[in-house]
Symmetry: none
Amino acid sequence: MNAYLISIGDELLIGQTVNTNVSFLGNLLSDNNIDIIKSTVIGDDHQAILDEFNLAFNSAELIICTGGLGPTHDDITRNAVVEYFKTELINNEEVLEDVKAFVTKRGRELKKNHTDQALVPKIATAIRNENGTAPGIWIEKENKILVVMPGVPYEMKAMMNNYVIPTLLEKIGTPKEFIKKVTLQTTGLPESILAERLGDINELLNGAKLAFLPNQYGVKLRITVKSNDEEIANNQLLEIEQKIRSKVGRYIFGKGEITLEEVVGRLLKERDLRIAVAESCTGGGLANRITNINGSSNYFERGIVTYSNAAKVELLKVEEDVLIDKGAVSAEVAMQMAEGIKSTSGADIGISLTGIMGPTGAVTNKPVGTVFIGYCDDKVCTSKRFQFGDDRVLNKNRATQAALDMIRKSLLGIAFEE
Amino acid sequence: MNAYLISIGDELLIGQTVNTNVSFLGNLLSDNNIDIIKSTVIGDDHQAILDEFNLAFNSAELIICTGGLGPTHDDITRNAVVEYFKTELINNEEVLEDVKAFVTKRGRELKKNHTDQALVPKIATAIRNENGTAPGIWIEKENKILVVMPGVPYEMKAMMNNYVIPTLLEKIGTPKEFIKKVTLQTTGLPESILAERLGDINELLNGAKLAFLPNQYGVKLRITVKSNDEEIANNQLLEIEQKIRSKVGRYIFGKGEITLEEVVGRLLKERDLRIAVAESCTGGGLANRITNINGSSNYFERGIVTYSNAAKVELLKVEEDVLIDKGAVSAEVAMQMAEGIKSTSGADIGISLTGIMGPTGAVTNKPVGTVFIGYCDDKVCTSKRFQFGDDRVLNKNRATQAALDMIRKSLLGIAFEE
């Protein structure tokens, strides 16, 4: 079965609201082996809705439409449905009871715009709404299905989970084709190099699909396989994952939607190690990411943000001579900062960052984007140079990612350098 | 001018990526008086791209397309453009230089998939990419404009701001109707109370429009007025802004897209004051936001992130008795932390945060979301209690916003309490 999604609402077109409904629907439908062929957004406009219904019915078996079912003047989807199917609105007693119960429970007075919500197109099945007053609409015609739901995310989500998906699965029966997916999260290699390392992509995939999804922290690799046999699909997925791991395994920090700070947090917790952080250029960004994880107080000892040389000397025991000779942005200072935060805090691991985030501050041989990351534990004390880009906030984020990845590599015994 | 947006990428259809690009584009285009009539998402499929180009060219004057321009096999948009316009790819020397510079600067080796990025459709103008290797594409044909950009948000955003919008505005020339907008950024009041304080909305607006745009940091108020006369529009806008300021002025921290950390940074710089930060619950989040601003080294002295009581005593001179008597999450400890960071750092202002961010850690009378913020300068030393919600990361962000707002209020002589 394939699907066409329609989102209705001016607020989506002018960017006032981010359309998270379609990502929810995309995930849920594809997890249930329904292919989404297209997703569109149109405004609160009667003719635009009719035109879009035409396009959708000409290209897909299932049309899922959200938005414009509320009680105010700009909610016009239901009328468009009535006109499109040349039907009429009739009162639905079951929905009316739902609406009355909902309004009463919230201690509000029942108004006409509430009871009007119980008007449902004659040819439709009403989808009950636990979380609001507008029912959903389910219409089947000429082997096609139209589902219309409110745009309020939690109302729509409950309808999808409780009614739409179960009803669709019943109609579809046992799937003819199994679609299996896995996402591998990488960091430390740009998309182009990653692609090169993977070598001949057709040989690797043998008919499966691989998507490269880059973001500021790295590249996600999403593998998708399809097969009539569920076991074959699972095996093929595993085989491709293993091949990819054999080629770029050291850059893969996790599977699925996990973040690197979660991965590092788990490793530190497992090993019962405590970490302390000394930041210059990232200004608290690394400590902030580490402490975004619930339970981080178990392994995060402290963080110190030292912008000035004086603070580096006073709080991190960096030697003044070294600061003067090598400069605050140098391998030596990074190492001394990591050593200093480790020894003064008594943590097991000290990590440090010093660099030039831009847009100003570049010096000879150290352009904007130069960062040194220092790492010290009981066995090793080292530092590594990185070169990021021109954007200050992006540079901060990338530098914190690189620091987290150094911790991950060290804890897993992966060398920092190849 | 009207616009049709096309987003290309399987990851958008299957819901792996939330499409924030279209909300960015929707905002930016409508701010520049360009109406978005439709926005669609299609997969990485050659025929689907061609079909969508057809639909778009039949309905809009401007088509903006994002995604599928990268260097890997699943990036197929450029070839679809070549086929659609029956043109060919030619090497663009300027882009090649950009690509070489970009790759070299990052210390990587120049590969074929890099240099291939310099191939641009013959009939196109290349849009230079400061933040990546894939150039954008600008094609004009039969009074219509097609713009194709990479889907990576920061690459696309820079192209829109630096090239696409200025070029479009030049083409559009003087508009017949003047649409004037202003956004006032508020923090510290929920949407419903803000609306209540503004009173009779029709009287306030007199035909103009007002949108409430809530986010985790506060509520943006966007006022829109239209008139054939530019001066009348400007005057009406100013009048409404003044009325709003007279009612909720103390909650308005800025105009347009400015952030609170920028506002606070400017105030500190103007007054030649230095600040130091002591964080427990926000784990470096406040220091991170302050240092996101270029030039923050002029006023940010240092930050200390103390999760443990021991670190609070050692680094911030918090009294052990007070920690035991009142608890780490208390008004007294917040005040001592602020006092401690101010005195040990020698900064003019000390600010501190201690609280329970969740999802665990609640104690009697201090549920998840309880935060105390301490503030000390040469004249005053105080603390204030806040109650946020259940989500850890949201709580961290809201607490840093509240702390920045306390600094703003103090510097402007606005009382913390009403």
